[in-house]
């Protein structure tokens, strides 16, 4: 996960070489290849069994890559009860995984999740295992999509910093850059031609001005949030497609007689029962409170709590804007808040 410069090497490969490489990875017994795959017209990161499954259209998948590390449902352990005896069994995910076609915004999202799951005690052992066993192969985006705003939150469509391997399209070929030892390990030895072309990283300026951290607390009690959230339907689509939303709920469920499992599932602050406690009290009863929580979490709470410094917990992928059935737009908050001085 740490970047070491000695691993940074470049190769220039053709489309055929790329296809062969990916097909090889997909067929490899020892690992699972996850890549953008079209399922009934929807592109999602999904395991692929051969290179042909990988979506040819390089659009941003509907879901972020976070599910590879933090799946929608994770079994924490199983409980077996026989008579007076109770036994707990836990099993960890050990499978090697390679994710191809990762967007820079998604890789940034994984990096941000590390702050909670890995860099803060207690370390999440499930997340840790998955993180250690997974290699990220990024692909630079050709351009910003209509709802993308990564450049406004410190990212870039061709930013390789959170990848193990990064691919850039260069004149009908692909420039492959290895950034970590884990990435170097996947490069087929001797077949590819090394090059010294450097990818040009032209950081374009962001189109939105994200309010500074100090600005958020003073707006906490604004009536704006109630008004802004009026159209919110309290579904959870925004949080579930988000690369950095990581709330979860834990529950014990019955499997069969005497057998139970403890699972954790994605949860979201937009949902009506978010943070409900025993006795039925909901600290964030109004949808205004909940939607405000979403924005504060991205730009204030999470960065403060987990020491992200000046950066925010939003990677600017724009998915929440795309999926919202009611047209709630995170970037609107920026301009509204900037204008409210």
């Amino acid at each position: 996960m740490s970047k070491s410069n000695s691993e940074t090497k470049y190769w220039l490969i053709s489309q055929d070489e790329l296809d062969t490489w990916l097909d090889g990875l997909a067929h490899a017994q020892a690992l699972t290849l996850v890549a953008p795959r079209e399922i009934s017209g929807v592109v999602v990161y999904s395991p692929v069994e051969n290179g042909g499954h990988i979506s040819k259209v390089f659009t941003r998948p509907v879901l972020s890559v976070k599910g590879v590390f933090f799946p929608p449902t994770e079994r924490l352990f199983t409980i077996h009860k026989t008579g007076q005896e109770i036994r707990l069994d836990e099993s960890f995910p050990e499978r090697e995984t390679v994710v191809f076609g990762v967007r820079p915004c998604d890789a940034r999202g994984v990096k941000l999740l590390d702050s909670l799951f890995l860099d803060t005690n207690p370390v999440d052992s499930f997340y840790l295992r998955r993180r250690e066993n997974t290699t990220l192969i990024g692909m630079a985006c050709d351009e910003l999509g209509p709802t993308c705003f990564c450049t406004s939150v410190g990212g870039a469509p061709d930013n390789p910093q959170d990848m193990d391997i990064m691919l850039y399209k260069v004149k009908g070929k692909y420039l492959v850059e290895t950034l970590t030892e884990k990435g170097r390990f996947l490069i087929p030895g001797g077949e590819w031609i090394e090059t010294n072309i450097n990818p040009k990283t032209a950081l374009s300026a962001g189109q939105f001005q994200v309010p500074k951290k100090g600005k958020w607390p003073e707006h906490f009690n604004d009536t704006y949030w109630m008004k802004f959230s009026e159209r919110c339907l309290s579904c959870r689509a925004c949080a579930y497609v988000c690369p950095t939303c990581r709330c979860f709920a834990i529950r014990d469920e019955r499997l069969s007689r005497g057998e139970f499992e403890r699972i954790r599932c994605w949860d979201a602050c937009a949902g009506e029962n978010y943070r409900r406690v025993a006795g039925g009290h909901k600290p964030r009863a109004e949808k205004g409170d909940r939607l405000r929580n979403r924005f504060y979490c991205k730009f204030y709470y999470y960065p403060m709590e987990y020491g992200l410094g000046a950066s925010s917990a939003c990677t600017g992928c724009g998915r929440c804007i795309d999926v919202c059935p009611a047209g709630v737009d995170i970037t609107e908050v920026f301009s509204d808040m900037e204008g409210s001085v």
């Binding site: 509907v62 009026e230 309290s234 689509a237 529950r251």
Partner: protein
Amino acid sequence: MSFEPKIIAFLCSWCSYTGADTAGIARIKSPANIRDIRVPCSGRVSPELIMRAFDQGADGVLVLGCHIGECHYDTGNHRAAKRIPVLHSLMQFSGLEPERMRLDWVSASEGERFARIATEFTETVRGLGPVAWRFSPEDRQIKAQSLQPIDNDFSMPVVDCAGKTDGIRAKAKELLASREVGCVIGYEVGPRGRTRPSFAYSPDEADKLVWNPDVSNNLVSYLPVKLKRTGKEPPKKVAVVVKPCDSKAVNVLLAENQFARDQVHVIGVTCDGVRDEKGSLQSRCQACTERTPFVYDSLIGEPVPAVTHGTQDKAAWLENLPPLEKIEFWLYQYDRCIRCYACRQACPMCNCPTCLYERDDSIWVGMGIGVNEKRTFHLGRAYHLSGRCIGCNECERACPMDIPISLLNQKLASEIHKSFNYRAGLTVVPSPIVTVLSGEYKEG
């Protein structure tokens, strides 16, 4: 070892349960495959129980009640007679062999009849073999099976939106200025040029309201919340802009006493259809012939004659699939559901305070992302909307994963129409399979 089917039988305590006893006393043989569950009435057998039985691995479910006219509670079995066939058609549409579910009538004295039905049913289910309903990843993989693409590409008719926009604004201003209503729910164009719901509280704010070919949201979804009594004061009257389809939702909610007629001012707008994101007429609009809202206090726009596009029925292909392929088709669809509940939240009819499928005790469905759980949620939701769904397709539009949920709703709507000659929301009459308890609703 030969296959022994697991059969769950819900037996009415007043008739068929005693009928089973009668069979026993008379030493008439009946199959041991039947697991009896004694219920107070066949009307007590909610469809969720039957779905739950199949989810838990039952090979067949038998419901036996009193003969019509002989119910201990007068009409309990009428309820079963209305509801269970609707569920039957939903399960069949989802790939369950129709023979695996049966509703019949057995009186307390008909021991022989009980034994005959039990034997017949068991043998039928035995003949079908083990049920393929429940999916377990160890047994099989879900085969990729997508909906056949249908080329129903119709361009949007050119409509006078400016005139309607002016009409809506003028009406909203009038209502807000006279303080007749506290809020007008309409549409606005957001900063990205996307049309979205809008809430105007003052005549000035009414200037942001618009009408255009993208007015897709069903704004009636916002009404129950807006009209909920929170403080001592009764909530202010609310005006809402509706298309003909949306107006049906107002009628359904009125019929179910969710609010009173004088709490809303309905601004009806004549409609020529709305676009999808590709710019062609939305599929629901292609089949729609309704141009004027069914309920309104003020009407904006002139009604134009309806144009019917001879659209292909998407579900027809699905109906003709063999059961197992139907199951696979739907599992493949539900598999990508992320349980974000956008479908439910966007639905004006989904207004339960706590969704049955989101209870803390996981009593009807687990919390996980398993495909069985997701199917249970979607089928349960579809059933709860039978006779109530007005076909606005907001669920499908809201779905980030493009799951064709509306097929379920359309199937049930046509089933209800066939059986009861009833279409939801045309008038203020509740769905024939919804039980409305009288005298419980007090206004204010």
